[in-house]
Amino acid sequence: MIWIDTLVQGVLLGGLYALFAVGLSIVFGIMRLVNLAHGDLIVVAAYLILVLVSLTGLSPFVAALLAAPAMAGAGWLLQRHVLNRTLGTDILPPLLVTFGLSIALQNALLEGFSADSQRLPAGPLATASLDLGAVTVGVLPLLTFASAIAVILALNWLFYRTELGRAFRATSDDAVTASLMGIRPATIFATATAIAMLVVTVAALYLGMRSNFDPNIGPARLIYAFEAVIIGGLGSLWGTLAGGIIIGVAQTVGAAINPEWQILAGHVAFLVVLLFRPRGLFPRAVD
């Protein structure tokens, strides 16, 4: 029975990793931008929610609702005025600019909030659990997983059922031709990053309620996110969820064998997938 429990916890953890990864997947899918500051942006959002909670005493959920437009706005400006300048055939500028951004954000948070670890107050939700017979699951992990599915459903609807989604896909396929049809790639890219930042805020909400965070945890979260995206295959959001689940299960199984192996097991699972399916499990985009 302990193994079923380990598996279920792993799957639910995968929901959190999928939330980390979806924003990254959108940004990469639409503009081939690898954002090395993605993990730090999640941590920034977590601190923003924390500040709103401690200033107003609101629930973290309401605070996240307030933080989301601010994060989206910041993402729009960041993309429009900084990251758009780095796009092109050379992969070096976007990598190095977002790497610099990552270092700057981490240390700005360190300067503003110190290295103390923080947590978003989840109230009774933090300890609530559901008895499902064979296993007992926490309400918060379940909610995280449900949110990941809801986010992916909403994004798939946006990408495949709306005019904006069509513009996203057209720009992703061929920005020059799309611009001949009256689409402005620069604005489309900024909008995509703004949407990614909305997902980042959701990820930050659950990250902050489920575990402690400090200014330096961004890069580790970024690695899980990248692993989920690569395992899933580029361009497939459901694949990203599957990738998150694989990392999550590998980590909980690894931890069940030896607590020190938790993180290592996740990375090893990633390398094994890379060995057999270098393009991921469900590749959609061809790069």
Partner: protein, 350 residues
Amino acid sequence: MGHVIRTRTRASTVAAIVGAIVVLGLALLPLVAGRGLIQDMFFILTMLVLAQFWNLLAGYGGLVSIGQQAFVGLGAYAMFAGVILAGIDPVWAIPLGGLAAVIVAVPTAFFAFRLAGAYFAIATWVIAEVVRLSVAQWKTLGGGTGTSLPRTATRDIAGTGWIEAALDVRGAAARDILAYWLALGLALLAIGAIYGLLRSRRGLALASIRDNEEAARSVGVDAARLKWSVFLAAAFGTGIAGGLIFMQIARISPDAAFSVTEWTAFVIFIVVIGGIGTIEGPILGVLVFFALQKLLADFGAWYLIALGVIGIAVMLFAPRGLWGLISHRTGLELFPIRRRLITTKGNDHG
């Protein structure tokens, strides 16, 4: 009318002479300098070595790795293992660092080369994490908390006795001077080897891959093989540097030896601000980096914020770095690798 192909310029000849004088001065520095200056110079030289090898990877090989800390850490741990487990003299244990780095670089390249472009960077990073977490399980070398070089090993490192007698310094200072000389030698070797490579046929092939991989392959350049050799060479050099750095520190822990900030972020910053894709760039970059570090040392996190922002600004507004600006204005090349066709009068084939 005849013609010759030359890479040498008048500026490069002058630079070579000035460079030789500077190197001689640096070699004699321990005669006059205090221990603080020697330690600073050791730091500058070892960072320069790391920067040259990262530049070889990213600037010439087009391989943007953010996992080079794996090889620094491996080099350091292999050196410690040689000293603690096999009783080898620390200086002679340093080559073990390069060896260990190459051994791990082979599977690393195997995995990372499966991913193209930006995702290559992520794969190197994941593998560096795997290496760090695995080494932290190595209990005989201190596990997660690390260990120190035993006093018996550090007391009489090869050559320190001679330095103590010749320069009339105490044990710890002699060790620093030895490390400094080794760092100077390593930096010269690294620059010499990279410059030699870039001037050779292989260097031309490498530049052609960087500029256009498809075109290079169409004229018969074996891109995959060259990338492998560049990756392994950079791992070897980085591993040696890691062994040397931690011989001087004499204390090791997984977090210090595999630090992304110190061995990758700082190194990338040095190369980017100095000028990526040039040999002069990292030299200029490491000096700017060191000056900034001294200037902003008292401001804690602000120092790293400034580094990040400067890195972004350089990448956006002067993507070829400071050396790129200088070289663009003046046409100066201290380490020229461009082949220029020079027509000569008569039958002169000089």
